[in-house]
Amino acid sequence: MSKLWIDFTIAFRNLVQHSRRSLFLGVAIGSVTALLVLLNGLSTGVRETMIDTATTLSTGHVNVGGFYKVTAGQAAPVVTDYRKVLEVVKKTVPEMEFAVQRGRGWAKLVSDTSSMQAGVTGVDIRNEPKFASVLQMESGKLDDLGQPGTILLFDNQAEKLGVKVGDALTISAPTTRGTNNTVDVRVIGIAHSLGLLSTWNTFVPIQTLRALYQLNQDSTGVIQIMLHRNDLAKIPAIAARLRQSLDQAGYRVMEPDPRAFWMKFQSVSREDWTGQKLDITSWEDEISFMTWTLSALQGLSVVLIAILVAIIVIGIMNTMWIAIRERTREIGTLRAIGMHRRQVLWMFLLESLMLGLLSTIAGALAGWAIAAGLNAAHIPVPHGLQFFLMSPHLNLAVHGGLLVTAVVAITLVTGAAAFYPSIKAARLRPVVAMSHFG
């Protein structure tokens, strides 16, 4: 124990003795660590924002949806007799935090001046615990969505339709049997845009959606199951369990298909069956058409981190070579008075690891502080970027685990980079080293 302490002391003193070089290299390693923390924080932040936004706007963590076909050619995103399905879900998924049922529709919204096609989601706002936490209202009151014949729009949609709170809209769509129908609704609220998903999602009371599609009280569009964050890794297992339970309960369950429900209409319509089939999907399936943004961001992070790590490795190796050259006589003397090669190797490695550890801790803390500062500053994201990030503000999620990972990883990289120069130093012959001038 005391020997290890002496080794640490020597290593620390050596670092202090070569303060300029240590400081230069330490700042470089610290900066790279801070960048790593920030890049990962951004990637994690986007992912978490995406999950939070998507699981509020358009999907649960796990969904029990499906299609009802009146005839082979007419598929509607409807789950009939949903209360019985919900009972099976409750029994099968004890991890469930809560579940909501929502209606699904695609309709034309017509105002006095304009029109647009949009997704119309039927919600029961009184039983939507997370809804208010994600939406930021620009005008109007979210609670008014409990009144029949109302609609909640996003600012980009309201702008396109030329409407404000209190204005009337007509929603026009064919029913599940293909008969044209309309409902007149009043705009009760306009929420700030939340990117890609909010461009085509609107919300109406589920009763209004049922009136539009002529559905009965026992029909809904989807049962969205919300899990605790710690259980998100269990989603594939829960989905498999649900498929088995629903199948055993006598429901026809569609084969797993990792696509959003609206991307399945064509294939479902081509199939020769009628009646009800249930479809189990995860949140990733339902927003599979846009997770490429996350993959792209993660890919970009990996490339940047790889470049930064390469810079560190080159920098450390270079610095170590200089250090060894400068300290060749010292090495020769240490070897001459009895220091083993292994000890020389250990001394140089320990110096690098200590420098790496101290620098990465400082860098990780700096990265964390910068991320916290950026989050507190509520920096607005450019409009184009909002579309993909699904948040009006920059959000970096830096967790403890990420900091520890960054510190350990960069420290190990630093040690690994110093390994070869340290071996070369340990292999120096004392006579040659002591007679070295330079």
Binding site: G73, K108, S172, G178, N180, T182, D184, Q214, S269, R270
Partner: protein
Amino acid sequence: MRRMILAAALVLSLHGLAHAALTQQQMVDLLKQVDDRQKNNGDWRAQAYLEQKEKDKVDTVYNTEYFRRSADQKFMILFTAPKSSAGQGYLRIDKNLWFYDPSVGKWERRTERERIGGTNSRRSDFDESRLAEEYDPSDEGEEKLGVYTAQKLLLKGKPGQDLAFPVIRIWIDKDTKNVLKRQEFALSGRLLRTSYYPKWKKIYSPSKKGEVYYPEEIRFYDEVEKANQTLLLIKAVDTNPLPPNLFTKAWLESKSR
């Protein structure tokens, strides 16, 4: 004075008789007459020009050829222009309407109430009239439409019929029994579309051994999006027998090869 009152009463009662409500049977018979005039009882081939005008959008124009066979209610539309849509088509087999797009080489099953080419026209606008079969009429009296005197009927879809428009108000020319105007409503009762039939033509049909009437021009006005309208022109009608293998997926696919 007494004579004058009697004369006035007589005139009023005659006028009333002239406008007396039609009985249910009379209305059904009237609808059957409308249907029969348009029924071909054989094969049908014609060209249709479709023009869609929408607010803030470029006008959409299609040239199509469409085919019908009364015996088994077969129906097919082939798009011939513009180039980007040429080869696309709809084919009705049994009760299913299929859409073919040669650019992807796939058939998609569509609803029978499909908007043709995304315009405001429906398959039923190209098909034989089946008003008596699909709707129950109620009398709404007579009305003048320009120089024409029209019988106005409110038609409600019969139970079990899957119809694009569950309620229709129709104006039928009292003299010719041609449809002059239609208003089509949503389930909610909202007026969705008004159609005008300004020109009717007739053609001799060998299969019917009589004349078939068809609207040469139909104008559809969107009543929800007021600025949108569609024009349908029907020309080059041919009622001679068509090849037996015409109403097949293979035939439609061959048109884009």
